[in-house]
């Protein structure tokens, strides 16, 4: 998700092409071409400019409703509704061919779904499958203690800095809690999936979120060539 303004000028974006299975947008105002995943202007008068990223979540509608009962939801366009993906679109997409070049020694299947983050310039990819198994992954990326958590819907992923006022939290998943909650052993504070401390010594604090991009491995790797990949149990 991007800010539409570049140097104070509001741009209106359109779908305009495909570059290695990631789409190109064209802005109406200058005609420049932009890469969707990186927000970088590839060609045209604004070549070299980058769009400013806006933090966004990719969560289930159930989580959205719970957290933001006042939110608004994009309505389907009735004229083209029949062309929307079926509810099982994720399985269908997994069967699509990958045509971008991959290294032969890459052991990860190109359409492995990753939750990717970048912290202090270091890119890290967490296989969504592993997050479903492990629910909570404590890690250190770019010198910053972080954690990645999968909600109990098995779909919504968020990442946070695991430090509060310079203190590092040792988090655990609260057994049997639905919706998911985390507890940190040291201060006995309970945290919800939005990163808010709901009870305990740190109640009222909010953890800093880290942007997560759910992406296929082949695509993540193109735009983050130096990425590391989390391996289950390898920490």
């Amino acid at each position: 998700m991007w800010e539409s303004q570049v140097d104070g000028r509001k741009l209106t974006f359109h779908l305009a092409g495909i570059n290695n299975q990631n789409f190109i947008m064209r802005d109406e105002e200058t005609g420049s071409w932009w890469q969707q995943v990186s927000g970088e202007a590839l060609h045209g008068p604004l070549k070299g400019k980058r769009l400013t990223q806006v933090y966004n979540d990719e969560i289930s509608f159930a989580v959205f409703k719970r957290e933001h009962p006042q939110g608004r939801v994009l309505r389907p366009d009735e004229k083209v509704q029949a062309k929307y993906e079926a509810a099982n679109w994720e399985e269908e997409y997994a069967k699509f061919p990958v045509v971008t070049p991959m290294k032969a020694d890459d052991k990860i299947a190109p359409r492995t779904l990753m939750a990717g983050i970048v912290v202090n310039g270091k890119a890290m990819a967490y296989p969504v499958n592993d997050l479903q198994k492990q629910r909570l992954i404590l890690d250190n990326v770019g010198g910053q203690p972080i954690f990645v958590v999968m909600s109990d819907d098995d779909k919504s992923v968020r990442a946070f800095e695991s430090t509060v006022d310079g203190r590092k939290l040792e988090l655990l998943v609260q057994a049997e809690a639905k919706p998911l909650q985390l507890v940190d052993a040291e201060t006995a504070t309970t945290w919800d999936f939005s990163g808010a401390a709901v009870s305990g010594a740190l109640a009222g604090k909010q953890l800093t979120r880290i942007q997560v991009l759910k992406d296929y491995w082949f695509d993540w790797k193109i735009y983050h060539p130096d990425t590391a990949v989390y391996a289950l149990g390898a920490r």
């Binding site: 998700m1 991007w2 800010e3 539409s4 303004q5 741009l11 209106t12 974006f13 359109h14 779908l15 305009a16 092409g17 495909i18 570059n19 290695n20 299975q21 789409f23 190109i24 064209r26 005609g31 071409w33 969707q36 590839l42 060609h43 045209g44 806006v54 933090y55 966004n56 979540d57 990719e58 969560i59 289930s60 509608f61 159930a62 959205f64 409703k65 933001h68 009962p69 006042q70 939110g71 608004r72 939801v73 994009l74 309505r75 389907p76 366009d77 004229k79 083209v80 062309k83 929307y84 993906e85 509810a87 679109w89 699509f96 045509v99 971008t100 070049p101 819907d153 779909k155 919504s156």
Partner: protein, 165 residues
Amino acid sequence: MNNTAKRGWLWLAMITTTLIAVTVIAIPTFTIMPFKAQSATGVEWSYHLRRWSPLVTVLAALMFIALALKLWRGARWYGRAAMFVLFVPLAAVTWFARQNHFEWMFNPLPNAAYAAISETKFVADNEMVMTVALNDEVAAYPVRQMAYHHVVNDVVGGKPITATY
């Protein structure tokens, strides 16, 4: 130059004009096709060709018409028919240069509409949404819709944003 030779050159110019216009459209259309690998050079060429094709195709069409007018008198019936046959692809690419065919495949949403959660019956609880919260305003874009439209321009909390998927 005798008349036959001159007419030959005019015919060659007319055919070349048509070929140039068709090529200017065909290269980017086939280069940036889905399910195909693209090179950086291919994308760059496609950009420049797409950018100039509206002008190039119109100039080609005008040139074609000027040549056709010169050749019309004195042309046999099959010569005149050939002019029409040649003009069909030229007219088609001149029109196509002004179209965004990606938006034929995936209709844009210039006037996106929104529903309150209480009226949202079109998204199931387990479906994914992309969400953004800015200055106390929160918006959700269902992934199933985004996977089709790909781009939605919106203003959230007073800030113009572009949701992409």
